[in-house]
């Protein structure tokens, strides 16, 4: 009964970890793939802003950055979170028509041609129940849905793309953009090694950092938006609390078990068992709590994550991609935490003197 409850406790804690980390990891992947899928190598934003969405830079930098050696293309982007319907938030993208960002897009309908055309992502269209040719109102202005697009990225598919100048106008930020995406001349060069490409990317980043004091440049490979990094740190902190709860739970159960088996442990030591074997036995038991709790936690966590990503507040922003490495890591972490929690009871177990047990009995 006690063991069962401990395993359940470990399971619930691991489930909280799995769902939290699952959500943030998938969000991080969504963000990264937004840039990668569009073929960008570097992202330039306002320096020292907490939030990518709070970044605001002058559009004139687009031309300045294009002059830097190895920069093949540069294109501005403007982001805007907006509730298109009640509590149905969408990420509005302001892109320049003809930008390389549209390369490889699958559009059912036509691309952006007029100021008041909107391209709606397949996920957003489904959520908002809209079809090509429908009208959509954004900040009082009416837009025609010229096409529904598909992307490999869930964050894009859940958004709406408007012409950059129109979004600047309705957002009241003329000439301002959120960030500039850069594509380097080495990005699709098959002749270059990864190291050579990384060198060129470094050169460009150094140039931007030296010449533009109010800009910050990041490689899309390790790009994590600052607000999300705050969220990630927060989830790590919660995970730490969760693991402390797991450790305390196992310590409590195992210490009680050791206390109850004081006599048996004393007898094993009396008949010649070495202390290391007792330690191994206790640690193995603690690891078993971690293992079984981990399995329950991973199953529960996956179910919780699946339920959470369908919640209206986050629907469409995060996809649930099966990640066997994350599952294995979570299970190993759970076992490790179990073993860690077993150390104190194991030390208690080997401090038992057989003679004390025999004398008491």
């Amino acid at each position: 009964m006690r063991s069962g409850l401990t395993i359940l406790g470990v399971g619930i804690s691991i489930a909280a970890f799995v769902s939290l980390r699952g959500l943030t990891d998938n969000l991080e992947k969504s963000l990264q793939s937004t840039y990668k899928s569009r073929g960008s190598d570097l992202v330039v934003m306002e320096k020292s802003t907490l939030d990518l969405f709070a970044s605001s830079i002058d559009q004139s930098y687009v031309t300045s950055l294009r002059r830097i050696p190895h920069v093949k293309q540069s294109t501005p982007v403007l982001f805007y979170f907006y509730a298109v319907k009640f509590k149905q938030y969408c990420l509005l993208y302001g892109w320049e028509p003809g930008s390389y960002l549209f390369d490889g897009f699958k559009i059912a309908g036509s691309p952006l041609q007029n100021d008041h055309d909107a391209l709606v992502g397949a996920v957003a269209a489904k959520r908002l129940n809209m079809l090509q040719g429908d009208k959509i109102k954004i900040r009082g202005e009416e837009f025609r849905i010229c096409g529904i697009f598909q992307s490999i990225n869930i964050l894009e598919e859940s958004g709406i793309i408007l012409p950059l100048s129109t979004l600047q106008k309705i957002k009241n930020t003329p000439g301002k953009i959120t960030a500039i995406n850069l594509r380097l001349d080495c990005s699709d060069s098959l002749k270059m090694s990864l190291e050579q490409r990384q060198d060129i990317s470094k050169q460009v980043q150094d140039t931007i950092n030296n010449e533009f004091s109010d800009l910050e440049v990041k490689d899309v490979q390790d790009f994590v938006s600052t607000p999300f990094s705050v969220v990630f740190s927060f989830t790590w902190a919660i995970s730490m609390v969760v693991f402390i709860i797991v450790v305390m739970g196992i310590i409590n159960t195992m210490s009680t078990a050791v206390l109850e088996r004081r006599k048996e442990i004393g007898i094993l030591l009396a008949i010649g068992w070495r202390k290391y074997r007792i330690v191994t036995l206790v640690l193995l038991e603690a690891a078993m709590y971690g293992f079984f709790g981990g399995i329950i936690g991973i199953i529960l966590g996956c179910v919780m994550t699946r339920s959470l990503i369908t919640a209206p507040a986050v629907q469409g922003f995060i996809s649930m991609t099966p990640d066997s490495a994350f599952v294995i890591k979570s299970l190993l972490l759970s076992i490790f935490v179990g073993v860690l929690a077993g150390i104190y009871p194991a030390v208690k177990a080997v401090s038992i003197e057989p003679i004390e047990v025999l004398r008491y009995e």
Partner: protein, 222 residues
């Protein structure tokens, strides 16, 4: 006695509570190889304390215990020494209730480098020797008191030790089972040439021991 000394207590004392309680007081005793030595005495006389010192489970306050001429406290620290050389039988059996007979008997073998098959074979052989082969897979919870003590004896013998320490081995048994256990100890003593040091406060027939010593107030008074 011409037999070699296997175990010797040399002027051992054991004091508790800063010397206020003298469990053993300057006691010397020799145990000869292959004998059954009965240590007798009333409750609180110090006989169990003496057994614990002889078995290396406790350290004397003064004096020393020698096993084949070597200080027992030192050699007990060697890997596998206790399992390979000493077996213990207790009045309360001290079996693991959630394990079956075979598993209980195999416990000391965990400290010996043998394959699982060899361990099982060895345990089965000894279980047969104590007459419980048909109960080898039974839970010890379902055994009678006499059978439980036979399991404890099998556990003490399984690693083929040279000496067995038995603390009131018949203390929890009725007279019939007590006699069976004494017969069993005598049989293994004769067949396996195992030395037996037995603590008892009961009168036991002379055919079940070779020599007896009386302990009273922490001293041998024979």
């Amino acid at each position: 006695m011409n037999k070699p000394i296997i175990l010797e207590a040399v002027s051992v004392s054991k004091f508790y509570k800063d010397g206020q309680v003298k469990a053993l007081n300057n006691l010397s005793l020799q145990v000869y190889s292959g004998e059954i030595l009965a240590i007798r005495g009333p409750s609180g006389s110090g006989k169990s304390t003496l057994l614990h010192l002889l078995g290396g489970l406790d350290s004397p306050t003064n004096g020393t215990v020698l096993f084949n001429g070597k200080p027992i406290q030192k050699i007990c620290r060697k890997k596998g020494f206790r399992v390979k050389n000493m077996g213990f039988v207790f009045q309360a059996f001290y079996l693991w209730q959630n394990l079956n007979v075979l598993e209980n008997v195999m416990l000391p073998l965990m400290e010996i480098n043998l394959s699982r098959k060899e361990k099982v074979l060895r345990a089965v052989e000894i279980i047969g020797e104590v007459g419980l082969l048909d109960r080898s897979r039974a839970s010890v919870k379902n055994l009678s008191m006499g059978q439980r003590q036979r399991v404890a004896i099998a556990r003490a013998l399984v690693a083929s030790p040279s000496i067995i320490f038995a603390d009131e081995p018949t203390g929890s048994l009725d007279s019939k089972n007590a006699e069976n256990v004494m017969q069993l100890l005598r049989r293994v003593n004769q067949q396996r040439h195992v030395t037996v040091v037995m603590v008892t406060h009961e009168n036991i027939p002379t055919e079940y021991y070779d020599r007896q010593v009386h302990v009273l107030d922490g001293k041998i008074c024979t």
